[in-house]
């Protein structure tokens, strides 16, 4: 358990007490940030999105420009507390890379990048649904989960994602309710 989630645990377990809040605040809630600075982290986001949805026989997140989607949606459609959590999560990831691999995230090897993201994926959330709920309500969705959500949304609704990685039927004309699944059938892109 790292310092932050340790403090968060204390905070949540002791309830919404003024004392613990001030302790927590001291470390995270007042760290200054400007969400528009996400633009400066475009390359890192592109790399992260590609690790989540890599290019295979079909295009991956990077070529679908999912990082631009993530930045746009985070800036325009998310509450400040969510922006804060996302931004500081991203900064933590960069910091973790420097501390543990002594290089910037973008300079890490593929395997190292994978391990770093895995570390953060395991950090996201408690193993307790109630705690998760309280946590999400107070501070927004954890960094990795939000990153993955936005990556999925951005990718599956992009032209490349919808038409190449999924099956996009622009004007179906007819509805067939019960047909055999074809070999390697892809999911429909839209409902």
């Amino acid at each position: 358990m790292n310092r932050r989630s340790y403090l968060k645990n204390i905070f949540i377990i002791t309830g919404i007490g003024a004392v613990s809040l001030s302790v927590f605040k001291g470390f995270e809630l007042v760290r200054p940030f400007d969400i528009r600075d996400l633009e400066k982290k475009r390359d890192v986001l592109a790399e992260l999105a590609e690790i989540i949805i890599p290019e295979t026989a079909t295009p991956g997140a990077k070529s679908a420009m999912v990082h631009d989607y993530i930045i746009n949606v985070m800036i325009n459609c998310n509450l400040p507390k969510q922006q804060r959590r996302f931004f500081s999560g991203l900064e933590d990831l960069e910091e973790y890379s420097l501390n543990n691999y002594t290089k910037k995230f973008l300079n890490c090897t593929s395997a190292e990048k994978h391990d770093i993201l895995e570390y953060f994926s395991l950090q996201s959330g408690y193993s307790n649904r109630t705690l998760d709920k309280i946590d999400n309500k107070l501070f927004g969705t954890p960094f990795f989960i939000k990153l993955r959500q936005l990556t999925v949304e951005g990718f599956c609704q992009s032209q490349l994602g919808a038409t190449k990685a999924l099956a996009y039927d622009y004007i179906p004309q007819t509805f067939e309710g019960c047909i055999s699944l074809k070999p390697n059938q892809k999911s429909w892109a839209t409902k």
Binding site: I53, N72, V73, Q157, I179, S180
Partner: protein, 565 residues
């Protein structure tokens, strides 16, 4: 305000229709077809079929922020943004421009433009039956409906034949069959569920939804292309709306004058003739106050707005509001509840899929309280509406773990079959559920703000508990796994089936309208939107509004011809 004789002549019509939504469009068409010069007033902008559906042909990637509303938008539109995304935003009002007061949480979803909510409606078309028309009398609740099924049945047929309803005949007393185009098709899991329901209880069945989506070309529209983007407006005319059907038909007669940006503030009463002489409006663009006159007035402003208009139309004869001697105007507000239901997952049919996006689901017609002695903890009943599908990326995204190749592979292939279903339940009419005018607060046109005071009560909450348990039981019996019953507990208004604020009844002392939707106290005013409903039944109500409208138009024209009006 000075109005010259010439202006009076210019501003005089045979009929005025207030509101161009699903019932107003019908009133306009019917009256125009009968040869009446008709003025159709709409408070918002014009929306022309096909020309004004800007998002109808867009792809998901054409929306820069996906289907997320912006923070700013949500802040400006805290209510409307619950119901719509950026793809339908232009068919919903701006909450900041059109505020209302919630005494208790109430979602009032609105579309102020030509066509109103007929553009965004759910298109479900179900007839009421005598089980519904007799219910108030039997239970001693509110007042008796002044009509029975036989009075409205031919008008249901008339309306269905015009709008085009796809559906399956099932020969049920509680849900009469209509004039149907061929039904849409159930998918594998829905058929499976239907088979299980039929096998386990011979009084229950599952049928394809009856919807105003065309399964063949009809009235120069359609067929439906199975895009499931109805609420953006359909360039194929695949579903019925005022814009695609009744308004163009009214226009074609040469008798229609459509006047958008016309906020009707009052119905004017002629103390000598004891009739309505017309209406006063504010032009939303110029703020000019104008009057229009007519022999008859149809009020189709939608339940809550109609109540507000009547309450705002005071005179020495009607100090409490137009035609409101009964003091029932604004009261008895109802909305169906649709918060309770269940979801489940099925492990079968792994090798089966579907093609196309059917814009409808299934219906389990009402099966409770069909008899008198069922001893349930609630009166009346509910039907269950839902749909089956295989999990797609949006359903799987949060349930999958990890990331990378395997994650992508799972994300982009069909998941297990699931069913979501919920009970659409009857809401009883309670006098205290009401719409009033605020004494102080005004909107930007100086009109009093509407105050909505509504809550579901014990009967509705007991019914929701039954839906919750019964839905889960139905799915479990059909072999579904991970069955999750739910109750979203959404506030009133969420089903967008407001009704009851100017109810029909036999007695002028306890109701506002007679059996022809004619005001008891002002015989040249007819109200045929949802406000006329004496009880809510559990069926989606638009079809009934349309049938009552057509019926009232026939009656009004007849009376006019006979010189009675």
């Amino acid at each position: 305000m000075y109005i010259s004789d010439k202006n009076v002549r210019l501003n005089t019509y045979d009929a005025i229709v207030i509101g161009s939504g699903i019932s107003g469009g019908w009133a306009a068409m019917e009256l125009c077809k009968k040869g009446l010069k008709t003025l159709l007033l709409e408070r918002g902008r014009d929306v022309k079929h096909n020309q004004d559906y800007p998002t109808a042909m867009l792809n998901p990637w054409d929306f820069e922020l996906g289907f997320n509303n912006t923070l700013k938008d949500v802040e400006m539109n805290p209510i409307q943004s619950i119901a719509r995304g950026p793809a339908e935003k232009h068919f919903y009002v701006n909450d900041t421009d059109h505020p209302y007061i919630q005494e208790k949480p109430f979602n009032w979803f609105r579309g102020y433009h030509v066509g109103g909510r007929s553009l965004t409606w759910g298109r479900q078309c179900y007839r009421l039956s005598d089980l519904d028309f007799e219910a108030n009398l039997k239970d001693g609740i509110a007042v008796d409906w002044p009509i029975r099924y036989k009075d409205i049945a031919p008008w249901y047929s008339y309306v269905e034949t015009h709008i085009g309803v796809s559906g399956q005949k099932e020969n049920l007393a509680q849900l009469p069959d209509g004039e149907f185009l061929s039904p849409m098709e159930l998918n594998c899991i829905e058929k499976h569920l239907g088979d299980s329901i039929k096998k386990n209880d011979q009084n229950r069945l599952l049928t394809i939804a009856r919807v105003a989506n065309l399964t063949r070309g009809w009235d120069n529209r359609g067929p439906c292309q199975n895009r499931n983007l109805c609420s953006r407006g359909c360039p194929f005319g695949g579903y019925f709306s005022s814009n695609s059907s009744t308004i163009p038909a009214a226009m074609a007669t040469g008798n229609l004058t459509l006047r958008p940006f016309s906020i009707v503030t009052e119905i004017l009463y002629d103390e000598h003739k004891k009739k309505a002489k017309g209406v006063r409006i504010i032009d939303a663009l110029t703020n000019e106050v104008l009057e229009f006159y007519s022999k008859i007035v149809f009020v189709n402003a939608s339940t809550i707005a109609t109540a507000g208009l009547l309450l705002n139309s005071t005179s020495s004869r009607f100090p409490n509001g137009f035609g409101n001697d009964s003091n029932q105007v604004g009261h008895n507000l109802m909305d169906h509840h649709s918060s309770a239901g269940a979801t489940g997952m099925h492990e079968g049919y792994q090798d089966m899929y579907y093609k196309g996006r059917r814009p409808s689901g299934f219906l389990i017609p009402r099966f409770k309280n069909l008899k008198d002695n069922e001893n349930l903890s609630f009166k009346r009943g509910y039907n269950i509406q839902g749909h089956g599908e295989r999990q797609e990326w949006m359903d799987k995204a949060n349930a999958l773990t990890g990331f990378g190749k395997d994650f992508k592979q799972q994300l982009t292939t069909p998941g297990p079959w699931t069913v979501w279903m919920a009970g659409w339940g009857e809401c009883l009419p309670y006098y205290e559920n009401q719409v009033t005018l605020d004494a102080q607060l005004k909107d930007k046109w100086g009109q009093p703000l509407l105050k909505i005071d509504f809550s579901f009560k014990e009967n509705e909450s007991n019914m929701m508990t039954d839906i919750h348990d019964t839905s889960a039981e139905i799915l479990e019996t059909a072999g579904f796994k991970n069955v999750g019953p739910f109750n979203y507990n959404r506030p009133g208004g969420s089903t967008i089936h407001e009704m009851g604020t100017a109810r029909m009844g036999n007695d002028p002392k306890t109701s506002v309208l007679n059996k022809f939707n004619q005001m008891h106290e002002v015989n040249n005013v007819f109200i045929t939107d949802g406000s006329c409903m004496t009880s809510s039944a559990c069926q989606n109500p638009s079809l009934t509004y349309m049938a009552l409208t057509a019926r009232a138009c026939g009656y009004a024209y007849d009376q006019l011809k006979k010189g009675i009006l």
